[in-house]
């Protein structure tokens, strides 16, 4: 343990002793964290942080956890907003938004994907045109989590049709509570509606709310996406509300539940390998030698994926550069989900046709069978993943681009989905 870490731990402990109380109001407590800088210690001291290296954050959180003090949830779109604003935002942005991101009072959403640009985000066609002294935005966004509850949106919009695809985009923060923004839930094949469609009809954005320079939108979005990828990796462990008695814990539990609401079916999407052995024993399917083989195949895939993740984490903890094993988690998860759905089908037999209360485990098994296909699509399809791995990890040649150099308006595209 470096001397530095010890010092920091001491400081945290001291500060917590004086400030933490489970009887505080959640926002009140978070305001203390913002003002002291202990909530986001790796942020600049100037902006609610303490300029500490990110590597010390786990130690700080450990000290919080020891005494049951609540930390700031590090995930969710609002943290992507914070990262983007810290990197590319103006002082006004930082002043206006960062504190309420820490307190959780503002809900954020991300307006990047469009019906016509799913894998190809930079193909966005939503337009922002300067009319008078305001940006006027028209277009349609999709796959937007929490859009209906959001106060602010991170918006990628085209400000120049004549420039190239990547240079014609700009990045804005848009007020979601205005007449030009209409939100519709988007129901999935599993009956849940985790996402929204957002229709922008002459929606307005003040010039001050542009992030980065005009035409730099793609670059700014890249920052958001980079943090999104990291956040996705930790999504599974996220949403575990702290355990404890006291009003502040209750408040946090409500917040977590609300935030996690759209993700309720995510464990099923991943295939619920954890249920396999019990289900096989309880149905007697475990006695079927053919099903035994399928279970064992699944467990082999699942365990080796898990060990691969552990291997990557161990290497990272040793400070080694990331090896190829670190890039395979998402692909492996798709394969596990698909294989698990197959095995659940075999185990459940005729019951695999049923859903809701008639289905095994009150619909959980049924939900797996209509949710697993999302694993290989959401957050970048398997195909896009394989392109990326082959190019970045294996150094294979990039796909020839047909859309890099010409004006965006000349690139063939779909106008609707």
């Amino acid at each position: 343990m470096s001397m530095n870490e010890e010092q920091v731990r001491n400081e945290v402990r001291e500060w917590l002793k004086e400030n933490w109380s489970p009887n505080l109001d959640l926002v009140e407590w978070r305001l203390k964290l913002a003002d002291s800088g202990w909530g986001m210690a790796n942020w600049p001291a100037e902006w609610y942080g303490r300029d500490l290296p990110v590597s010390l954050v786990p130690a700080i959180e450990e000290e919080f956890n020891k005494i049951g003090a609540l930390t700031i949830p590090k995930s969710g779109i609002r943290m992507l907003a914070a990262a983007t604003i810290l990197n590319h935002g103006s002082d006004m942005h930082k002043e206006k938004f960062l504190k309420r991101i820490i307190t959780g009072e503002d809900v954020w959403c991300q307006l990047f994907s469009e019906p016509g640009s799913g894998s190809d985000l930079a193909g966005a066609t939503t337009k922002a045109v300067m009319v008078g002294n305001k940006w006027v935005v028209n277009g349609q966004k999709v796959w937007t989590t929490s859009a209906h509850k959001a106060h602010w949106g991170l918006l990628l919009a085209r400000t120049d049709m004549d420039d190239t695809k990547h240079r014609g985009l700009s990045y804005f923060i848009i007020d979601m509570n205005q007449p030009g923004v209409e939100t519709q839930p988007l129901m999935q094949m599993n009956g849940h509606a985790s996402f929204n469609q957002v229709f922008l009809t002459d929606a307005e954005v003040l010039p001050d709310f542009q992030v980065g320079e005009l035409g730099d939108g793609w670059q700014v979005a890249t920052t958001t996406l980079m943090h999104e990828r990291r956040a996705a990796d930790s999504l599974r462990s996220w949403g575990q509300a702290s355990k404890g008695d006291g009003p502040i814990y209750d408040q946090e539990r409500v917040e977590t539940e609300t935030t996690m609401q759209p993700y309720k079916w995510y464990p099923q999407r991943a295939g619920r390998v954890d249920l396999i052995m019990d289900r096989a024993k309880e149905t007697g399917a475990i006695k079927d030698p053919a099903i035994r083989q399928e279970i064992a195949k699944l467990m082999t895939l699942h365990k080796s994926a898990e060990w691969t993740a552990r291997r990557a984490r161990a290497a990272q903890e040793q400070g080694k550069p990331q090896g190829p094993e670190g890039s395979l988690g998402k692909l492996a998860a798709s394969n596990v989900a698909r294989a698990a759905a197959k095995v659940h089908t075999l185990i459940s037999g005729a019951n695999a046709m049923l859903t809701g209360e008639d289905s095994p485990m009150d619909g959980t098994i049924a939900e797996i069978l209509v949710s697993f296909p999302a694993s290989s699509i959401a957050g970048g399809t398997d195909e896009i993943q394989k392109n990326i791995i082959s190019e970045r990890v294996l150094n294979m040649p990039k796909e020839t681009r047909f859309d890099a150099d010409k004006p965006f308006k000349d690139i063939p595209r779909n106008t609707v989905s």
């Binding site: 994907s113 695809k165 075999l346 699509i377 595209r413």
Partner: protein, 376 residues
Amino acid sequence: MKFSFSEEQEEFRSFLRRFLEEKSPTTEVRRLMATDAGWEKEQWRKVNTELGLTAIAIPEEYGGQGFGLSEQCIVLEEMGRSLLCAPYFSSAVLTANAILYGASEEYKKKYLPEIASGDLTASLAFTEETGAWGISSMSMCAEKTENTYRLTGVKSFVLDGHMSDLIIVLAKVNDNSGSQRLALFSVDSTATGLTKNLLNSTDQTRKLAKLMFTDVEATCISSEDDVTEAMQKTFLKSCIGLSNEMVGGAERLREDTLEYVKMRMQFGRSIASFQVTKHKATDMLADVELAKSAAYYAAAAFDDGESDIAATASIAKASASEAYMQTAINAVQMHGGIGFTWDNDTHLWFKRAKSSEVFLGTADFHRELMMQSWDQ
């Protein structure tokens, strides 16, 4: 064995396809699947009367058209393609065959003409709550009274069982000698003591029911002491029929997906121009075409009385189960996020693929059946 569709058959198929495209677009499928019944009498009567679909494979002596399984499989393939919401598989395949092979002349004459005309809908109640598909694993036992039989117990996964006019039940009967035999019973759908529960099924286009019998009066309609062989024939014929229905759905999904990727642009090019999409589309073609060959062959082989028909039926079902589900998985994947939404039609077939994968037995189950018929 003749193994190609004749010109008449092809014409019938084209006609039927156009007809179903018109009568059963997905808007209509979505409307009907959301109802408890799952189909509408008047609408179905109109379709059926015009084309004589329920009559096609019933012998002429029982009021049918006397065509073979091959012809009926054309109907099934096109129904699978259009996801037509109708009580066809339950009445005209499962039950009609159970009666044709297992019932006495008296009951064939009584029921088959009505099924052929479409005036009577019927369900075959053979599976129970274990969900086992093997004929021999039924446990319900009929109790003999003076003039009739009485049934107590539960049948489940009964296709259209909540709506059919007539329920044909497979149950055991205790012989005087103490041994058991399998028999077929007819039960009126309004019989006292019969409770019918519609089950929640993921595939809303295929309604299943749980039927609870409490001392329900039933008439034994078997032609022979034991209907095991008749039921096995019914089962394998239904498997072949289902396989044909399945390849119809798989083909439709494959075509729609191909059309979508050709239309969809990303990165300034059609996603159909990506080599990986091209190869996946080719794999899908191979999956579906091979499954089609097995389904077609099995139907023709049944009509020809091929001796290895049990294994052939299982090959058709195993092949269709895997091809349809794999096609459905690929179809969602190739549509991307939009393919996972409720408004996109892909999931309608995806769910049918899932229910059909399991209905009448998974690929694993049928693989074991083939091996049993080859390793005797």
